[in-house]
């Protein structure tokens, strides 16, 4: 079973009005179980729109979105995915631990269970000792890690991320990328990851999906095959070959890989 199947999805905003925009046109995308797929493309290519369709935050104008074998709406109600945005979006009145607990709380999980789970998740993102702090006491990178811990708390089979590291500095960003890969490998989570950065997409993904704007569609799909994903991989020849391939795909040159 595939984690996500997007079938001939078209999304038109403001349909029938003078400011009608076709954000996505006949998009097809399949994300396999345990696969890490990045969506990359220029601003306005509809990559965030595609992610929000998978999350059932908006509905397609035509076509269907299937998540974990169910329609997207059902999958959302069953909390079959975790989501993280560019802004951490933490609740400032809750401690770090209680932020991570929130999705569990809404699922009706018992108090001691969710406390244990939240602490596990914070351990996973390396923030165990900050459980009792309030979000405003943390740095931006730490807040983003809390948001990731929160997204992972229900142990969803699917993780949706919309430029989660976009607002961070390069050092923090690279460290979190490595951490994210570790977490995904450990939990076997499938991931759809929206990004602006070619290097980030190549480093993280099994597959980079390249999109173009007006109307938004998928123009290429570059499989990334790296033997390892560590600091050495960032310097490897193979890595740069893939970066070049994605860059060319973004420019509209047919991919050579």
């Amino acid at each position: 079973m595939s984690a996500v199947v997007v079938d001939k999805v078209t999304k038109v905003f403001n349909q029938g009005r003078s400011d009608e925009v076709t954000a996505l046109s006949e998009v097809e995308l399949t994300v396999g179980d345990g696969e890490f797929v990045s969506l990359i493309g220029p601003s306005g290519c509809g990559k965030s729109t595609l992610l929000r369709l998978i999350a059932d935050l908006i509905e397609p104008t035509a076509g269907t979105v299937t998540v974990a074998g169910k329609n997207a709406g059902q999958a959302r109600r069953d909390q079959d995915y975790g989501i993280a945005f560019q802004q951490a979006g933490l609740f400032e009145w809750r401690t770090v631990r209680r932020n991570v607990e929130l999705p569990l709380e809404l699922r009706g999980m018992g108090k001691t269970d969710r406390k244990t789970r939240a602490e596990e998740m914070l351990e996973l993102v390396g923030l165990a000792e900050f459980a009792g702090h309030y979000p405003a006491q943390l740095s931006g990178g730490m807040q983003q890690r809390v948001a990731i811990a929160r997204a992972l708390a229900v142990q969803p089979p699917l993780l949706l991320m919309d430029e989660p590291f976009g607002a961070l500095d390069e050092m923090t960003r690279e460290r979190l990328q490595t951490e994210l890969l570790g977490i995904c490998a450990k939990t076997g989570t499938s991931t759809v990851f929206v990004t602006h950065s070619i290097s980030e997409a190549v480093f993280l993904s099994n597959r980079v999906v390249v999109m173009s704007a007006r109307p938004g569609r998928i123009t290429a799909s570059v499989a990334v095959d790296l033997p390892a994903r560590d600091e050495a991989a960032r310097q490897s020849e193979k890595y740069f070959e893939h970066v070049t391939a994605v860059r060319q795909a973004l420019r509209g040159v047919p991919a050579s890989l």
Binding site: R76, I83, F91, W93, L106
Partner: protein
């Protein structure tokens, strides 16, 4: 200490200047009594001031609680149903422009002469508006990311209201409460000027003034001032306790 010292020095200087002006300037006590005279009177009357402050304070407190609860509840309803908000805001603006204190004599006629209800009503009505308007603003300002997150959690409207809207609105609620706490005391004291029970600070001020006992009148005014301060500081303390995520940042 550095933050406390300057206002204390200025305050003491002002009192000394006042004392000197009155004694050296030979100002008649019925125009402006000296601080020392007011202080003597306050010490002498401390039992009366205390009892009067308790009576006025009780009215103010009941009005403050009633008006605040009503303000928060109505704001919650108004934030939930847009049409109600659109109707109630202009109404609120019009009614809050009314001099509510002026309603006191009318309200006095509606109830028995020994009733404290009119004063509590005046205080409650005055308290209602700042609390209502601030709370409504807070309830409306929800981070769009929080909205989307709660949607992905498939949270119900009620869950959203209690877990996101209300805590998010707390800073605004307390802004309203801080304004309201002093207003409640002013309203309760001034409402006593228009008759009814003679047990509060307001009625003591009017009767002292009627007997030309000006230092005594001032002593009760000072009592009213202290009462207002107590209300304000208590609200500040509650604000800190209710929002630990803020006070802990300052600490």
């Amino acid at each position: 200490m550095k933050r406390i010292l300057p206002p204390v020095i200025v305050g003491i200087a002002a009192i000394v200047a006042w004392q000197l002006t009155v004694t050296l300037g030979r100002i008649a006590p019925f125009i402006l009594p000296a601080p020392s005279a007011i202080w003597d009177e306050l010490v002498e009357q401390k039992q009366n001031v205390w009892e009067a402050a308790l009576a006025s304070g009780e009215n103010a407190l009941i009005g403050l609680i009633g008006g605040s609860v009503a303000g928060v509840l109505v704001a919650m309803v108004a934030s939930r149903f847009r049409p109600i908000a659109e109707i109630s805001i202009p109404f609120a603006a019009v009614v809050s422009a009314l001099p509510i204190i002026a309603l006191a004599p009318i309200l006095n006629n509606m109830f028995e002469s020994t009733s404290s209800i009119p004063r509590r009503l005046v205080a409650a009505i005055i308290v209602f508006f700042p609390v209502f308007l601030n709370t409504l603003r807070g309830l409306r300002e929800v981070d769009p990311i929080h909205q989307e997150l709660m949607h992905t959690y498939a949270a119900s409207g009620w869950t959203f209201a209690t877990k996101v809207r209300l805590p998010g609105a707390l800073p605004y609620v307390f802004t309203g409460l801080r304004q309201a706490s002093s207003l409640a005391v002013i309203a309760a004291v001034v409402a006593e000027y228009f008759g009814g029970l003679q047990n509060g600070l307001g009625s003591r001020i009017t009767s002292a003034a009627a007997f030309t006992a000006y230092p005594r009148a001032w002593a009760f005014v000072l009592g009213a001032c202290l009462l207002g301060l107590v209300f304000y500081l208590t609200t500040l303390l509650l604000e800190r306790l209710a929002m630990p995520w803020r006070s802990r940042l300052i600490a």
